[in-house]
Symmetry: C2
Amino acid sequence: MPRKSGAKDPIVATSATGDETDTRERILHAANRLFAERGFDGATLREITEAARANLAAVNYYFRSKDELIRSTLESALKPIVAARLEALKACERAYPDRLPPLESLADALVRPMAELSSGENRDRLLLLLQVRTIAQAATNSVVADHFRPLHERFIDVLQKVLPNLSRAELALRYDCARGATLQILVDLAPAAQLVVSPAERATTIDRHEWLIAGLVQFVSAGLRAPPTVLRQPTTRKKAPGAATKPR
Amino acid sequence: MPRKSGAKDPIVATSATGDETDTRERILHAANRLFAERGFDGATLREITEAARANLAAVNYYFRSKDELIRSTLESALKPIVAARLEALKACERAYPDRLPPLESLADALVRPMAELSSGENRDRLLLLLQVRTIAQAATNSVVADHFRPLHERFIDVLQKVLPNLSRAELALRYDCARGATLQILVDLAPAAQLVVSPAERATTIDRHEWLIAGLVQFVSAGLRAPPTVLRQPTTRKKAPGAATKPR
DNA sequence: TCCCCATTGAAACGTTTGTATGATACAAAT
DNA sequence: ATTTGTATCATACAAACGTTTCAATGGGGA
């Protein structure tokens, strides 16, 4: 059966009707979960379609290939977190119409949406695991970067106003630091924190979720607020404390 | 070649003599690189053995299976970074025999070894990529965690002395934050920093490597030094952290 | 009613995967 | 010279992979 020329392509026909969220959506959902659990290479289409109660060929029907499914999964998974962070940033600016928002509020806007989306009543950590996986995968990393770029620029713009003493380069560096700290805390499967804390001490913590967010915000805020870095001149080639360079 | 009685298993025979570093070592080296580049599932044994100029069966000869190769690769890759950080910590303590080392030195001991091992004349970022991959992979994550645990405990112990006002739980949390920030900065393939900084501004940076380390240390030190987190009671309606505790 | 077409289903495709097998080369010990 | 054990090689194998094909299905306009 020869296909008509681009008339009704099932791959792009979803948003047209609007309620076709059946098989395609189930596949996307299952793929999200399994990609996060076992990685993009580790999760097979057979597992995904089985979990989605769909036929194996459905993947190649709704998406062209596994690569396209990965891309679609990333887009659908990243959209909520970007939107939530952007919304939190806007709300933060709205709360302080005349003056600049405090740094703690900005840090909260950066940290909280990801914490809510990952550990809340929502699916558990899948979004974060997906994100971590894409960091190491050059192919998917560009997709993620493209989605996040506007958000990052918005955040750095606001931070630049709050912290005018920092160069934009250093500010961007610290923004990356903040992202890394957030990701690490929320995704790490074996954090040093959990190993160290005694059960009794953990029991006193009323709400671990809120405690994590508060601690993260505290750390990130202080890190962002640090005075500008002054590079030690290498004129005196004195090794830094604890250098102990190992020759190869 | 002197030979002991009993079964000589080639799998455990390497560390005995010490100079048998030929094919087995080449495979380990190639596996390190390819696992980091394409992931544990993405890198095939045929690619690895070809890159190592070894026969395909050599993997199952020196290691029992691909899983064992992954484990061996992780161990050999993690050992240097753990040793380097531990050595840096010891050197830091040695440099201040009578009083406690400054926080910046401790942060440097945490950050610098990984930066040196990843971006120096050494192989590029492979160790970091490996580490990031293991974060998301539950199976390999335990191996990594086991290797890092003594190091983490040592670091947190020292930090606890320098920052006695923090609970051990919060200290461990901030230590994880510091690890996350370090990992993110050193591994990220598409950092916001690189996208934002103008080429001119980057040109002024004499040594980007040293600049990254200094900025990281500055951020981490300030984050660790932040005052203890006070949990805001959720009785208040809106999340308006107005408690802007001025640092000094 | 019929036809159309988007969707689903089962089965097979060719390729690539990790692993296993047996032959062979080589060097030291017997 | 023969034996012995280590190491490397080409090759084979079953399983699993992503992808394709084609028939069956079913509901909505004509």
